[in-house]
């Protein structure tokens, strides 16, 4: 399931819902991305998340479908927020449920790696020096490449 929203989410409730009533599930893997502020001259007062409505949902659905094609998943969930977020706030939740631990863990890792390179979201940071657009990190492309070929 895909959700793109301004509002926060409740991880415990989301994971409970993912497994509810399905006793074939042996494990749930999840990843939550948070707004971080490392302090110092790069202090981040807030993050602003912009996205491309329509294409975002389409890409997230494709990524989720690909995960289900690769691993035996019972259920999966991607929630991604947009708008203004402060340090410590949740940005994204990716969760996967499977009868098998390995499948849940690998698929969760895959989902967040692909989301980072394929979902049309952009972050700008509010810093003491003004607004700063976050740049794409080469590690993110490398992380995705690991799942290819």
């Amino acid at each position: 399931m895909i959700r793109v929203q301004r509002e926060d989410f409740d991880i415990g409730a989301e994971l409970d819902r993912l497994a509810a009533g399905n006793h074939a599930i042996g494990g749930i893997a999840s990843f939550v991305g948070l707004v971080s502020d490392l302090g110092g001259p790069d202090r981040v007062a807030a993050l602003s998340l912009e996205h491309y409505p329509g294409m975002t949902e389409k890409k997230l659905a494709e990524i989720e479908l690909e995960a289900h094609r690769r691993w035996p998943l019972t259920a999966s969930l991607i929630i991604h927020r947009y708008g203004r977020l402060e340090p410590g706030e949740r940005i994204v939740l990716v969760a996967t449920a499977s009868p098998h631990r390995e499948a849940a863990l690998a698929a969760c890792h895959f989902l967040i790696d692909w989301l980072k390179t394929d979902a049309p979201f952009w972050k700008s940071e509010q810093t003491p020096a003004g607004e700063r657009w976050v740049e794409r990190r080469a590690e993110d492309d490398a992380a995705k490449a690991r799942w290819q070929g």
Binding site: K116, F121, R136
Partner: protein, 83 residues
């Protein structure tokens, strides 16, 4: 043709969305980007380094040689940084 701009491309061009008629002779994404650059200093500046410009046509990532039609929705943006 609808053109959407996101992130710092939107900020530098100063426009989130515009309707343009595809000029005669522009057949693909590469041609469109060249034409956009010629539309004024803000466009020229924003599109100066095309290595950090991505394009989606009808919400699919495409390369520079992707053909264009007048009904297309074209989005121009920097590499994504979500997650």
């Amino acid at each position: 043709m609808k053109i959407l701009y996101f992130a710092w491309l939107r900020a530098r061009i100063g426009c989130a969305e515009e309707e343009v008629s595809l000029p005669a002779g522009i057949a693909d994404v590469g041609g469109l980007l060249d034409w956009l650059s010629s539309r004024g200093p803000r466009y020229a500046e924003a599109l100066r380094d095309l290595s950090v410009v991505r394009v989606a046509v009808n919400q699919e990532y495409v390369g520079r040689d992707h053909p264009l039609a007048d009904q297309d929705e074209v989005a121009v943006f920097p590499p994504v940084t979500g997650g």
